[in-house]
Symmetry: D2
């Protein structure tokens, strides 16, 4: 009888290499899957390693464009942020990776998918909820949640021993005292020495961005142009105009990285109910999101903004963080995002400097909600100032009743 096939999310590292060998040991044919979402990685070397260990095939899929266009850009459109601080860099990549892995699994006729996520994190949830929505019949093998596996490989030495026996090449570089996840949008750092939330992240940890203390003394200015809330053009300080989504994103990254923009440090609440500490750098996305927020001030109606902020932004971020991208509620919210962004057209002049993103000015050729002469304190404009007297009088009806009731009850205001 033919062996059952499993599609493993493979990274080339020690953990997933051991899982690969272990799955083969368990009698599976293993198809390895690697997603290129922009992380720095030697995909060819990893592929060679997978095949050497015994994978029957190894796919490397370039998902950078769909990651930017389908995930990062809607996040910009709704100013997505989790718990006031985190820009969801990891969360945004998971859906495209899971979707691609399922495609490979289907193409290869796999009965199961597997991954190397730990049993306490968010990523296992994000991947698996996506798998189940994308193919409800799929089986998932999560070795780090199987006692048979996690009891056998209780420490790093057990993995090293196993690697040696299984002929898995192990890099001699000493592993860092934290774990990382990188993609085009960000790099995350957690675990290890960072588990003490009062330990300041060491300055040599940050990979993507220059230390703000060592960033250039001269600010760098650029312009971002949005259409329907989507970044459409980046014009550099040298006048170069970039319009391709991926290139635009990479250029925003390059500028922000040079100036140390987008570092954060947070204790956040995981979906499974644990608090965890993470450090993140999200250079370009920080700029795109902040510029988008600024432009909305100029062109978006007050009430649409308020509804979008309270309802769409909050929930979109929560849903993405919790791994519920492939869900009816995300689909629903995304249609609401689009509905909110019709008039978000215009440009923002931006500056990056020593860790800060600064807005220099904004304008729109097509949108006219902002009306300098009408809001001017120096002109009477379209409405009569005495109208405001009536406005206040009507607003005060309710408050006078309140004041009277408080007075009657002898309560101080």
């Amino acid at each position: 009888m033919a062996k059952e096939k499993v599609c493993l999310a493979y990274s080339g590292g020690l953990d997933t290499s051991c899982i690969l060998a272990w799955l083969i040991e368990k009698g599976y044919d293993v198809v390895c899957f690697m997603a290129d979402v922009g992380q720095e990685e030697d995909f060819e070397a990893a592929k060679a390693k997978a095949l050497k260990i015994g994978a029957v095939a190894c796919y490397v899929e370039d998902l950078r464009r769909e990651f930017i266009e389908e995930l990062c850009f809607p996040a910009v459109q709704c100013n997505a942020i989790y718990e006031n601080v985190y820009l969801l860099g990891t969360s945004l990549a998971r859906p495209v990776i899971a979707r691609s892995q399922i495609k490979v699994a289907q193409k290869e006729g796999c009965v199961a998918v597997s991954h190397g996520c730990t049993g306490k994190g968010n990523d296992q949830v994000r991947f698996e909820l996506a798998f189940y929505a994308l193919q409800p019949s799929i089986k998932v093998i999560a070795p780090w949640r199987l006692p048979e596996f996690y009891e056998r490989f209780a420490g790093r030495n057990d993995l090293l021993d196993y690697a040696e026996k299984a002929g898995i090449p192990v890099s001699s570089t000493k592993s860092k005292p934290w774990s990382m996840d990188e993609n085009l949008a960000h790099c995350s750092y957690e675990a290890g020495i960072l588990e003490d939330p009062d330990v300041t992240a060491p300055s040599d940890m940050w990979k993507l961005t220059v230390d703000p203390l060592k960033a250039p003394d001269t600010p760098e200015d650029f312009t971002l142009v949005f259409e329907k809330g989507l970044p459409k053009k980046l014009i550099t300080s040298k006048g170069k105009t970039i319009t391709d989504a991926v290139e635009l994103f990479l250029e925003a990254n390059a500028i922000a990285r040079r100036h140390g923009v987008g570092r954060i440090d947070i204790v956040e609440n995981r979906f499974i109910g644990l608090k965890s500490r993470g450090c993140y750098e999200t250079p370009g996305l920080t700029c795109l999101r902040s510029a988008h927020i600024d432009l909305e001030g100029l062109v978006l109606d007050r009430e649409v903004r308020a509804l979008r902020d309270q309802f769409v932004t909050f929930n979109y971020a929560k849903i993405l963080y919790n791994g519920l991208y492939f869900s009816p509620e995300r689909e629903f919210l995304e249609e609401s995002i689009v509905a909110s962004q019709k008039n978000v057209n215009g440009q923002v002049r931006c500056r990056a400097y020593k860790g800060s993103f600064i807005v220099l000015g904004r304008s729109s050729e097509t949108e006219k909600l902002y009306d300098a002469s009408e809001s001017s304190m120096d002109e009477i404009g379209a409405f009569s100032p005495d109208a405001t007297t009536g406005f206040i009088a009507v607003q005060a009806i309710r408050l006078k009743k309140y004041g009277e009731a408080k007075a009657e009850k002898g309560e101080r205001l």
Copy 2:
């Protein structure tokens, strides 16, 4: 018959000096009122000027402590922010000013209160809604909304002519091409050249904070200690500990001002439905709020935080911005804020540098929701990793149904 008395919010400037003279001309006895909310001002000179013009009395009330303790601190507790950017510096001062003015008006037996706010701004609304709640029977004289007044004083020259005739001393300093409002928490700049939202604020406009480009090359670290979400201690880099609310706030201001922290530039939506552009610097409050947000990550329950963010923070900011401080809804929300902050106890190590506020670490002696060993990826901890399999399986029930329905309808996920 005795003249009727009016209590005028007086600043010493050209506008309110002319209003003072005009009110006297209209047959009122005028009691001038000045609120010290921490702005840079020569109160004695202004008082002398008021009396010289003909005020029957002039009060200068020190409201700094109640401004910090009753307004700024609750704003910190709920991370108040308007339209993602504005920290409400002006809005926070209005309630204490209005309350004090009504007290003076009552003490002096005034039938009306008056102010020099324009007819298009937020402040007229904030003051008057407060007046009406505090004393529902009060009359309000808002000259800039009275045709009799604003048609007579159509331009600055009309005011200068009137001042000359009325013997009002006019300072020879040229007025700035923008208007300002200052208090202990912030300084705002709007109107004039700032009405073009694409004009970058000139670097000599900013009054409170050092230009980030000229800020020290060396960061400055300090520690903030919170109890029940309130700032209780600031420990400077030199080890000095400050516990008094006003002094603590002033020290936070001093640090942030030295390092250019807290400048923003925004197009915002006024209560009356106009968009307007404002530049604000809010040095200390920016640090206190950001540190508070960070500490909540460590000590506040996820669900309480989510409810507070979505409802209390959003609405508290909107209510304050719109001038509805003295209202049943603010009272209601403030009790909810207190209920949310019971466990927000701990300290945050902070850094100010070239315009940025940075968190270095945080800790709490009393709160234990964060549990390094439980969230550690390297330890099994209190719950079995296979529990997560069940968690995911249950979460997936609904998503599998969704995936099946999409597949049946032939829609791509």
Copy 3:
């Protein structure tokens, strides 16, 4: 010079007849406008009266279909309700009336529109906000807010005197001790004896519905079929199938009216800040809305429902109530409603009986989210019961921390 033209919303009653005469007296040419939104009215007689008084033209526009299709049906789709009780019958009609009146005004070249609404109600706001959005340059003449008018016509006798002089025919029927507003969706009663909120509405007040105490002893059953949340078919107890939107609505009305369904009595909060008491009967809409809510239980995803309930339903109702139909926020929310209703397909078996609407059962041929065998307590089904153990264990992580913290602080749970 030609006279300026005004388009007056005319009802044929004493008030608007006097306003018509008064506008003519003021030197306007007056075009009368009547909207047929399904109210019981002798339009031809009213038209003849308008022309007799001196209107230069009188339009009667049939708006019933657009009222049902563009307003009532979206309200059903999002289960719109104001302050838990009021189904917005009056609010829903205002936008179509205002839009039609502006069309007539534009066709006739009117410089202004006029209406007979009082100065304390919601309707003046609803009409005028719609007018201004539809034609920002339009002038509005609201006589009941003009001192010149309301001081002259301080009581009903003043109107009667004026009518006599102006040759306005006055009906001899004694006016009722409350005011009414009727359309296809509802009839409202307020003011007069109803101003005491403790006075029970007299049983002869209710116009549309049979007194539940006198309703038939035999219930009447019918079936409602929805597609994308819209009522598409009504099947009567006799097996007659109705598919036209207006006819379906009328049939739902007829059934509900026979059985006394849809009466309410409420003290509500008007947009201008006053509380007022209203009695409403909304026969058919009550049934359609309740059946729609029931069907959503069967076919709508839990999370989409929760988001829609908390944000769309609440705000759509508030926006409509406040007269903000022609606004960016209504447009935004309505696109969200549509996005939420894709799968709301199925039928509900309904019963009307002595004032109650009762659901007998519901089903859907196309939607499969409900799965009897999976939710059955008697079958194991697709997921293993032990998965729930993991689900609970993970949910409990956060709560155990909470329990531990409470215990440590000696607080009782």
Copy 4:
């Protein structure tokens, strides 16, 4: 060595009797626990049965007062409702039961608690989340989720066989084709023939309420008095006044039961993601909640109500439904409820008739927000009608901009 002790939630029925015997078979000493939350039950017979089967002890705890005062009354205060329809009758009882069971377990030194809930329902979650919060170290034995148990007892016959062998007396009454849960607030019916959502509940199923078709032809009137949103007095049609919380609740039940008030039928979304169909009768609570909603119209500020509705009511219901009563978020919300109810003082005159609850009138001696003369259409009152012109003009600023933008883009309104 002494046996370990388990505290079992015991009902006297077949399932929990078999679980009792099985736990003894597994080597535990079993303490039985029965909660009296007002259900119709022969507690003495059940206790005798438990002891006969071999329980080492059997507690019957009267929790009726705390159920009413601590759970049902806060639910009334915030008008709690789940998915627009369900009044949470079962959910409200679970916290008091779990708390009492843990107390017994602690008193008896039990290492674990056990229950007979199935593996697909809400109740297992509600009980266990409560257990874990109340005593984080407790172990839970949920036999219906243990393969060892549920595979052995796959059908009712397996339980009957086991009962016979274990000497468990089995009642000869045929079990009903649905399952029920009863307490002072409600009775629920689900499963069995009700699993087809299109099957109408048989008329002999309903236990608490009279069939509305057979209810008296004469309505029954009564008055409910609230203080701070809590029911404080019920005055019957015969003038009897009841003030004790439990007696008041029982009287409201008695009236509503006589008149068939409070039946509902719903397809709801369980916490675990399944949809399920339930029929519920909640006689007294339906009346108390509806009367409370009505009174709020008279006495509660508009904005407090809106915030409470959107924020507290929605989430309190969701939290209770999902079994998160012992949680930081419930504690937080409950403090917000109290803060919202300070002025909810007054009385509502009520009517029960043929399945309907009807409000006849309402009044308050202490609260004055409703002001008949001010809201009267016939009086000018405290504010000038022309103020509304200004109010509308200011509200229109934003909408005119919207109208202009739509016109410029050629879009129809």
